[in-house]
Symmetry: C2
Subunit: 141 residues, 2 copies
DNA sequence: GATAATATTGAGAATAATTCTCATTTATAT
DNA sequence: ATATAAATGAGAATTATTCTCAATATTATC
């Protein structure tokens, strides 16, 4: 189901503000956005949208799994559209760029956890820090 | 080198406050501590230790790799002694307990990253959320 | 052990992200 | 079109963390 459907089917209203926030994500793939980014971009569509509303929309959209929280270890939280694919992020410590990492095997992780402890996995978070290709290249030059 | 040596060898002073913070970690293995926890526990040894000092000590000890930051996705950061072993954490969403996870193969991760993108890994952070054995057992009962 | 130089500290102010409050507005079922 | 309840905007409140700066304590040197 799409974002609109997910909001409505859970009994929430599809407000102009929520639509604007969803659109902002759709129109800005690439680096995950923080609440201030989303607020700024959404303001172009809805000049009066409040920051608190953006926070509330992000919380709701996370709950509905329309967007996902991304942990970049910066001051603010970041968010990106949930593409459905299982993925994590490569974060360049030089240019702060964020790139997808698809090499995490969920079943393998769950099996390893089971193998060493009595723990039932619900979710996990992996962030990988280092240098991206572009920064590596410019360092060599 | 031990904590004391690492502080001194980098030209920092071994103050009573820093010693107290280090001792607190040594005396409280188990759940990682947040700055407020450390401040409270250190206050038992040094009643006048300030919270800002605890923050500064934690920052320094992280830099020296005496302690490591642990990302539990709670409001505050958490810290634990660096045992030297490569490990991550299993976080119980029910009792908030934190348990070590040693199943992460660093070389394998680096190889997988290299396999799918031009990125040089420096560090990574993995947190696994779910139900611990004790909470699973009490849920069944 | 005393002294001087300077790193460190304590206290509280400052900052910044996030959440809360509440009167007003708006989406939607009817 | 209307009623109802959900959602919003604005700013206050909260909370973790950092900063400032005068006072203090560590340590190298004598």
């Amino acid at each position: 189901m799409d974002a609109h459907g997910r909001v409505k089917s859970h009994g929430y209203r599809m407000t102009r503000q929520r639509r604007a926030v969803i659109e902002v994500f759709a129109e800005h793939p690439g680096r995950p956005l923080n609440p201030a980014d989303v607020h700024l971009l959404a303001s172009e569509k809805m000049p009066d949208i409040g920051l608190a509303t953006v926070y509330r929309a992000l919380e709701l959209l996370c709950e509905l799994d329309v967007v996902r929280r991304v942990h970049l270890h910066e001051e603010a939280q970041h968010y990106e559209l949930n593409t459905g694919e299982h993925r994590h992020h490569l974060v360049c410590v030089s240019c702060r760029g964020v790139f997808p990492y698809r090499g995490c095997d969920l079943e393998e992780l769950e099996e390893r956890v089971r193998g060493e402890s009595d723990f039932q996995v619900i979710s996990h978070c992996l962030s990988i820090f280092g240098y991206c290709g572009e920064c590596l290249a410019s360092a060599k030059a």
